[in-house]
C-alpha cells in the first residue's frame, strides 16, 4: 500500500512537471507542484503532519482559505518541525512570491 501511495505521489508530481514545462510562464500551480507537491499533495509527508496537528480540513495547503503570503514566506525560509528550510538558490524569492500568491487564492474564499 505504501509503495502504491508513493507511486501516486510521484505521478502527481510528474504531471505537475509536465504542466510546468508546457507553460510559457511559470504559473503558481505548476511551481507549487514542482517545488512543494512531493510533500504537500494528498499523500505527502507534509500533508500527513498538518492533518495530525490541525485536522483534515487544514491539511492540504491548496485547499486552505487562511494562508497569508508573509506566513508562507516565513515557513519556506525557516522550516517547521520536520520540514527543512529552502534557500534562495533552491527557491528564489521570485518563485516563492508566485507560490505564495497561488496559495493565498487557491482555496475557497469568503
Amino acid at each position: 500500500m505504501r509503495a502504491m501511495n508513493l507511486v501516486a505521489v510521484a505521478a502527481v508530481l510528474m504531471s505537475g512537471l509536465s504542466t510546468a514545462a508546457a507553460a510559457a510562464e511559470p504559473d503558481g500551480k505548476a511551481l507549487y507542484a514542482r517545488r512543494c507537491g512531493i510533500c504537500h499533495f494528498a499523500d505527502g509527508g507534509g500533508t500527513w503532519m498538518l492533518e495530525r496537528r490541525l485536522g483534515k480540513s487544514q491539511a492540504l495547503l491548496e485547499s486552505r482559505a487562511d494562508l497569508q503570503a508573509p506566513y508562507i514566506r516565513l515557513i519556506a525560509r525557516r522550516g517547521l518541525n520536520g520540514m527543512p528550510r529552502f534557500t534562495r538558490v533552491e527557491l528564489p524569492d521570485s518563485d516563492l512570491e508566485i507560490i505564495a500568491a497561488y496559495l493565498t487564492r487557491s482555496g475557497p474564499r469568503p
Binding site: 501511495n5 512531493i38 500527513w48 525560509r77
Partner: protein
C-alpha cells in the same frame, strides 16, 4: 542567525571578501542576511546548529565564476564549504564543518550535459537532482536507471561524492570521470578526460597513471563541477521477494544464506533488511504507541508487529534481468532461504515494459517526525563483514546501547557481497534537550564500540567527523597525516572545506575536535 566569522578572521577582511564576491557573482548571489544564514543551517543538527553555522553563501552560475570565487577566497583566506543541493540530511545538510565557513552553493550549475543510452552513462553538474534526472530519462524514454537513495531530494553528483547508496550499491562506484576546480582555481579533468579530446572520459575508469576520481569523494581536495556517472540498464523483469523474519537473531542465518548469492550476482542488488520503524513512520508517530521515556519495550514492539503484520526484520530481495535468467536465480534464492526457514517467500514480478520504475521519493524523511516536535535524525553507519555471526554480534551490541540510553532502536542493513552496511537511525526531537543529549552520548558510545570491534563508519554527521576519523588510527594516524600533507600541498591557504571528513588544513588545524 547572527553573523559568525571564520575563526581568527577580522570583520573588515570578511566585508572586503564579501564585496569582492559580489563583483564576481552579482550582489543577489551572495546570500548573507540573517535569514539566508538560517536557511543553510542543518535542519537536523545536534543542538542549535550554531557549531556549524555558516557566515553566508555564495552561488556561482558557471565554472568561470567558481574559479573567480576561489581566487577571492584565497586572497582573503575565506574558508568555503561546497554543497551541491545541500540535502545531505542526517549528515549535516548544507552546513559547514567549521563555524563561519561560507557555503559555496553549486545549485545554479544544474545541467544534464549528456546521457548515452547505448553505453549507459550520464554527465551531470552538481545542481542536478534525482527528480530532474529521473524526469529526463522517463520523458526521453531512455531505458536506463540511476540508483536513487532514500532521500531523493538531493543531488545526483553530491550523493555519489558522499558515497550514498541504494539497492544498486555504493553510488561512488559508478563515478567515471570528473571535472574539478582545484583550491587555487585551476580546472582539471580526471581519467581519459585529461586528454584535450578524451572520448572515453565517462566510460573508461582510468586514464594513464594514477586514478584520482575517488580522491575527490568525501574529501576537500577540489570542487567537482562535472561528473560522469554510470547508469543501469532497465531490466526486462524485476522479481521482488518480500521477507519477514520472526526473531532478532534470524538476521545471522539470513546474511549467511544470501551473501554467497550476492557475491555471485544471483542477487544483483543490495539486500535490505529493516526493523518495524520504516513501516510505521508512514502513518504514525511514537506517541501513538508508547509514552514512556525509555526505549520501546519488547511488548510494544510485539504489538506494532501484530497490528501491522510485520516481522522483527523485514526486507526485500531483488532478482532483476532477463526473465528466463531470473527464473533460475529465483529458485536459488528460495532454496537458500528455505534451507534455514523451511518455507518459500512471496514475491512479485514486474515487467519494465509495462510498469515504469519507481522514481525518487522523500517518503523516508517522515522518520524525522517519530518523536514529534522539531524532529530530526542522524545515522550511525558501521561497515560489518558479511558473516552472520559478526552481524548478530554487532546488532546485539548496538541494540543494547540503544536500550541503555533509552532511545528507540531503528536499523537497516544493506548486504553487499562482502560487507553489510548497517545504518542505525538516531531519531530525535530538538525541543527535547534530554533526548538530544542522550542521543549524542549514544553516538559516542557506538563509535567507540564499533572501533573496538574493528568496524569503521562509511559516512557520518559533521559533528562526529573528527571522532570517526580518529578511529582510522593505524600507525599513529598515518592515513590522516598523508591526507593532510596532500591537503596542505594543493590548498596551502586551507580555504576549501576545512575539517571535511576529519581532514584539516594547516591553517585551521587547531579547530580539530571543536564542535
Amino acid at each position: 542567525m547572527r553573523l559568525i566569522l571564520p575563526p581568527g578572521m577580522k570583520a573588515a577582511a570578511f566585508d572586503r571578501a564579501r564585496q569582492a564576491l559580489r563583483r564576481v557573482v552579482g550582489a543577489q548571489w551572495v546570500l548573507d542576511t540573517d535569514e539566508d544564514r538560517e536557511t543553510y543551517i542543518d535542519p537536523y543538527a545536534v543542538g542549535t546548529g550554531a557549531a556549524h553555522a555558516p557566515s553566508g553563501a555564495v552561488a556561482p552560475a558557471s565554472v568561470e565564476e567558481l574559479q573567480a570565487v576561489l581566487r577571492v577566497a584565497n586572497e582573503f583566506r575565506l574558508p568555503l564549504w561546497p554543497i551541491s543541493r545541500g540535502k545531505n540530511l542526517g549528515y549535516g545538510g548544507a552546513s559547514p564543518r567549521m563555524p563561519g565557513t561560507m557555503v559555496l552553493d553549486l545549485g545554479r550549475l544544474n545541467r544534464i550535459l549528456e546521457v548515452d543510452e547505448k553505453l549507459g552513462y550520464c554527465v551531470v553538474e552538481p545542481g542536478v537532482g534525482f527528480f530532474e534526472l529521473h524526469e529526463h530519462l522517463t520523458k526521453n524514454r531512455i531505458a536506463m536507471e540511476v540508483g536513487i537513495p532514500g532521500n531523493g531530494w538531493g543531488s545526483v553528483l553530491g550523493n555519489a561524492l558522499e558515497r550514498g547508496f541504494s539497492f544498486r550499491g555504493d553510488h561512488s562506484e559508478s563515478i567515471c570521470g570528473l571535472e574539478v576546480v582545484l583550491p587555487g582555481g585551476e580546472l582539471m579533468r580526471t581519467g581519459m578526460g585529461a586528454m584535450k579530446n578524451g572520448v572515453t572520459w565517462a566510460t573508461a575508469r582510468h586514464g594513464f597513471g594514477p586514478s584520482w576520481d575517488q580522491a575527490f569523494v568525501q574529501s576537500n581536495f577540489g570542487v567537482v563541477t562535472k561528473m560522469g556517472l554510470w547508469l543501469h540498464p532497465t531490466p526486462e523483469e524485476v522479481i521482488t521477494l518480500r521477507v519477514a523474519l520472526d526473531q532478532p537473531d534470524d538476521i545471522g542465518w539470513y546474511m549467511d544464506a544470501l551473501a554467497p548469492l550476492r557475491l555471485r550476482g544471483v542477487v544483483n542488488g543490495n539486500v535490505q533488511l529493516t526493523t518495524y520503524m520504516m513501516t510505521v513512520i508512514d502513518s504514525t508517530q511514537r506517541a501513538d504507541w508508547y509514552q514512556g521515556r525509555d526505549s520501546l519495550p519488547d511488548s510494544v514492539i510485539a504489538r506494532i508487529r501484530a497490528e501491522r503484520g510485520l516481522g522483527w526484520w523485514n526486507g526485500t530481495v531483488r532478482v532483476a534481468g532477463y526473465a528466463d535468467v531470473n527464473e533460475g536465480n529465483l529458485k536459488r534464492v528460495q532454496a537458500a532461504l528455505s534451507k534455514h526457514s523451511g518455507r518459500e517467500y512471496p514475491f512479485t514480478r514486474t515487467l519494465s515494459a509495462q510498469t515504469p520504475s519507481r522514481g525518487p521519493t522523500v517518503g523516508p524523511l517522515k522518520v524525522a517526525n517519530w518523536y514529534g516536535g522539531r524532529g530530526g535524525h542522524m545515522s550511525f553507519s558501521p561497515v560489518v563483514p558479511a558473516v552472520g555471526s559478526a552481524v548478530v554480534a554487532q546488532f546485539q551490541r548496538t541494540r543494547a546501547r540503544y536500550i541503555e540510553h533509552g532511545i528507540d532502536y531503528s536499523s537497516t542493513w544493506y548486504l553487499n557481497g562482502r560487507t553489510v552496511t548497517n545504518i542505525n537511525l538516531l531519531l530525535t526531537n530538538m525541543d527535547d534537550a534530554d533526548l538530544t543529549a542522550r542521543g549524542d552520548r549514544l553516538f559516542h558510545a557506538l563509535v567507540k564500540d564499533a572501533a573496538a570491534a574493528g568496524y569503521g563508519e562509511y559516512r557520518t554527521h559533521l559533528s562526529y567527523m573528527d571522532e570517526v576519523a580518529d578511529t582510522f588510527s593505524y600507525n599513529d594516524h598515518a592515513l590522516r597525516r598523508f591526507n593532510e600533507r596532500v591537503k596542505d600541498a594543493i590548498d596551502p591557504n586551507g580555504i576549501l572545506a576545512p575539517g571535511r571528513n576529519g581532514i584539516w588544513p594547516a591553517a585551521w588545524r587547531k579547530e580539530r575536535g571543536k564542535v
